[in-house]
Symmetry: C2
Subunit: 206 residues, 2 copies
DNA sequence: CGTACTTTTGAATCGCATCAAATCTGGTGG
DNA sequence: CCACCAGATTTGATGCGATTCAAAAGTACG
């Protein structure tokens, strides 16, 4: 784990009041290393900038149960008011994280109502996104999930596959083979096209 | 739609400051009726007490896309700061809802820091719950999902099936038949027992 | 040019959805 | 008390779609 001067992603810079900017730190985690372990007292809030962080905890049979998987955004927001971690945070890949001290974060949330409202907005957006993902994952064919993704996360029937179909497959909770086949079949049926780096849904004919 | 004097569930009563209590109203929606439609300007925040409310919007092919399904808790928190609804809210069953005026809610969030922090806590709990559900739904066998449910939402390997296995099946995103079979098979293998109204996971032997 | 990764297609298998039907349950009214 | 009904529970049979294992082809990069 390596700490350096804070280089905040714009999403964070706009969210946090200036007072907190200087208190942030950037942390670089190698694949397989831990950010924190269960039982420890939370001192910081963590924002994943790149890579992948999982929160997990051992189940009754000793197997590991995944509670959250973050590739971009806050991990374990609930640490804001919990006295100790109930899970381990582990980097699944090389990961870059920004840390924000919790004590000062809480103080600012209490003292700066505008900031508190921005924070609430951020949580609301996150809730909305997760609700969409839950609905998507409760669809039972790859095609339904893909269409739901394009309809809800895309812009005008267009969804960017910046990081490749393989990573979209993970997001949809299906094997990459299944997704490749689904896309191929939709393309053959003329219902979907690949334009540039985007998946483009064919509009209603006419 | 019928409005009556506010009878707040305790979760709401403890969350909201007294000032807001008297501004709440209880709404009863018949199955199939709408709470609001897309385009309308949000005036209230809604808390589902019982029944089931869905947020949906038409997709490109005219089919309806479900954005959220709420059986208990807030629906469309994001209406707190959005200028208009982007979806319809429809009661899938006879549903009881408590409404809270948004203008006054925002005012109180700005003026009462303690309330704002309580609100943030509530959002954090909701996020945690949804993240768990996403992870659960991305497991691909009924058994894995059921075990994840018991491990994460149960207490000490014990999960109440108050509303019946059928409703648990919906929550797990599987058919009730599949869940019945899964439970039966786990019971036969001695890995799960039904005690009283609970599902009890057999502990590690020894 | 070799290495690593994504993309793509194939074949076999498995688990779940679905349709069907039987049993069990609690509750209601005669 | 019994007849009856609606809903939950349970078991069976069938087909489809996804997972999985395998392998080939394309692509970026040093």
């Amino acid at each position: 784990m390596k700490r350096t001067a804070p280089i905040l992603p714009s999403a964070l810079a706009e969210l946090l009041p200036a007072t907190l900017h200087v208190l942030c730190a950037t942390i670089t985690l190698g694949k397989g290393s831990y950010l924190f372990k269960a039982g420890r007292k939370p001192a910081c809030m963590y924002f994943v900038v790149s890579g992948e962080l999982t929160l997990e905890r051992p189940g009754a049979q000793g197997e590991s149960i995944i509670l959250q998987r973050t590739r971009q955004g806050f991990a374990a927001e609930a640490s804001l008011q919990s006295a100790s971690y109930h899970c381990d945070a582990k980097a699944v890949a090389d990961t870059v994280i920004v840390s924000i001290p919790i004590r000062e974060l809480r103080t600012m949330l209490e003292q700066d109502p505008a900031f508190a409202l921005r924070w609430i907005s951020m949580l609301n957006r996150e809730l909305k996104r997760l609700r969409l993902q839950c609905e998507r994952l409760s669809l039972n064919t790859v095609q339904d999930r893909l269409c739901h993704l394009i309809e809800t996360e895309g812009r005008g029937g267009r969804y960017p596959m910046g990081s490749g179909l393989k990573s979209i497959a993970r997001e949809l909770g299906v094997s990459h083979e299944a997704l490749y086949r689904c896309v191929a079949s939709l393309e053959k049926g003329g219902k979907l096209h690949r334009v540039g780096g985007d998946l483009v849904q064919a509009g209603v004919s006419g």
